[in-house]
Subunit: 327 residues, 2 copies
């Protein structure tokens, strides 16, 4: 396949590298010309994946050059807040499919990003989403990982699964686009809460309970949108939630740790040096839930924290509201 | 309540300490007289919880003295392989309820431990089980945790929940004894596999995928015994699985790391200095599953590892047999 990956953050770069290694003619388009040059000539992304030598077959170019008209697949690996603008300004070749890697919602409207892309292209069947427990640093190093690609109908997902899957990177096809996207967005918010718990030194027991409640909260959210609860029990749900809440690689967990230290919300992404989608997603998700009369207790507390609530107060309010029966 | 805790390992000690702190007249019975003396006089369990000062109200005595006839509740915190013998030899007062903390199955028969106790007492309604993400070291230090107590009918569990629950240790009542016990037994086996994955340096993505597949395997096992799948999505299932697979406190995870290093199975508990139930449970669980024609791929590979299979071979066989659809 002729593949163009838009976005040279750590995940865009790692997946582009994997696609090139899989034999696909792959070009990474970067907003930063210096980054494009470093990947093209030195096979390195010094800012986002400094320790990895990239596949020599991976090409890179400046995003302003646009997407070649003969691309079969456009992979979007951009922050949620840049998604709508990018899809509106970049020319997508009429025959190309889109694969979104972005885990978030459109800020303001709360639309899923495949909906944003679908509205622009006018053909939702050309759009797939990828989500799963995939820390870029590890995928780039070639340790084993698995993920989910979803499209509706499932045909595009099956096609992409066969084109992308390898011994080290197992892809599962799924028709539940709604579930995969909502899981990917919501788990980042739970991970911020997990980071707060870690930052306060509450231990592994408390975090395990939080993850359990978090998955229940995510599943409830998904079901209210008609998603399949099994998606939430799978790699894009539970799998990604565990990876994001427990790994030292997780930026959203790290964002929570910094919140617990009293760093103000607006200073956190600068401190991390990368986007932490959970910080953007939390208020959007809360609005979406309120519109549907849905209670998301963990998301609510993360929003309160972002608005300045004391971390210990947030945690004790969360504990206090726990019900007496599990289900 | 008048409570006797049998077993002075880390979890028996931590829960006895919590019960004493909750105002219950609590005595810990230890097999080792020196341990009983240390708890009784120095308020310390030097072998299993060396860094914790225990509640001064917690009493301790030698197990050979037997259980006082006026006990309301006997808590059993003993390894699964000593469970049947203990319940057969210790005199349980006729009015006392039993609460089992043991996470395992009876080796050989594969019976759940509440079944073993029920056969001895002749009254299953007097038996409850407790299971959840509860690393003893953390509970003893008073960081927040939550757990599940199950009995059938649920009345005893509700009674115990109200007697044990506190701000820091939230208890949920559940009527699914089968599910809670099978989850507690099976998660230790998955945690051994998670430790092998860590020991081989496979990273957080691979472990998250393993945990996801592991929960599916546990849930399938439970459902074949008529357990409620929601138990597996709750604290005793997902919660404990995550805590056991991800925490540095977990002995079963540590056992897997040692297996990955090539330490023979029979030498591992000596190295850890504590029982790692997953090592005993794996072959028992595999036999139980075979009897029912049930496939437990992860448990199977752990058994092969315990029988000497090369860890890398076990992992690649596990990856190779993965299906192409998630559910």
């Amino acid at each position: 396949m002729r593949i163009v990956v838009v976005g040279s953050g750590s995940w865009g770069t790692a997946l582009a590298n994997l696609l090139a290694g899989r034999g696909h003619d792959t070009t990474l388009l970067a907003r930063d010309p210096a980054c494009a040059a470093a990947i093209e000539h030195r096979h390195q992304n010094p800012r986002y994946l400094p320790d990895v030598w990239l596949d020599q077959r991976l090409r890179a170019a400046d995003l302003t050059l646009g997407i070649p008209g003969d691309a079969d697949l456009v992979v979007l690996a951009i922050p949620s807040r840049a998604f709508a603008e990018t899809i509106a300004t970049v020319e997508i070749p009429p025959a190309a499919a889109i694969l979104s890697l972005t885990k978030g919602l459109e800020p303001g409207t709360g639309r899923r990003l495949s909906q944003v892309a679908g509205a622009r292209l006018g053909d939702p069947a050309r759009i797939a989403v990828l989500s799963g427990p995939n820390h870029a640093e590890e995928v780039a190093r070639g340790t084993p990982a698995a993920t989910v690609i979803a499209s509706s109908p499932i045909d595009l997902a099956v096609h992409l699964r066969d084109a992308i899957s390898s011994d080290h990177f197992r892809v599962y096809a799924n028709a539940d686009v709604t579930g995969v996207e909502l899981a990917g967005a919501a788990k980042n918010v739970i991970a911020v809460a997990a980071g707060v718990s870690d930052g306060l030194g509450l231990g592994d027991n408390a975090k395990a309970a939080l993850i359990t409640r978090g998955l229940a909260e995510m599943t409830r959210l998904g079901q209210s949108f008609g998603a399949d609860p099994r998606t939430f029990a799978g790699l894009a749900g539970l799998g990604d939630l565990v990876a994001t809440c427990c790994s030292r690689h997780s930026r959203n967990r790290r964002a929570g740790e910094l919140l617990a230290e009293g760093i103000p919300a607006e200073a956190i992404e600068t401190r991390i040096g990368m986007v932490a989608e959970g910080l953007t997603t939390a208020p959007t998700l809360q609005r979406v839930a309120q519109d549907r009369g849905l209670e998301l207790p963990i998301t609510e507390r993360v929003c309160a924290l972002l608005a300045g609530e004391d971390p210990r107060e947030a945690v004790s309010r969360l504990m206090a509201r726990e019900p007496n029966t599990e289900y």
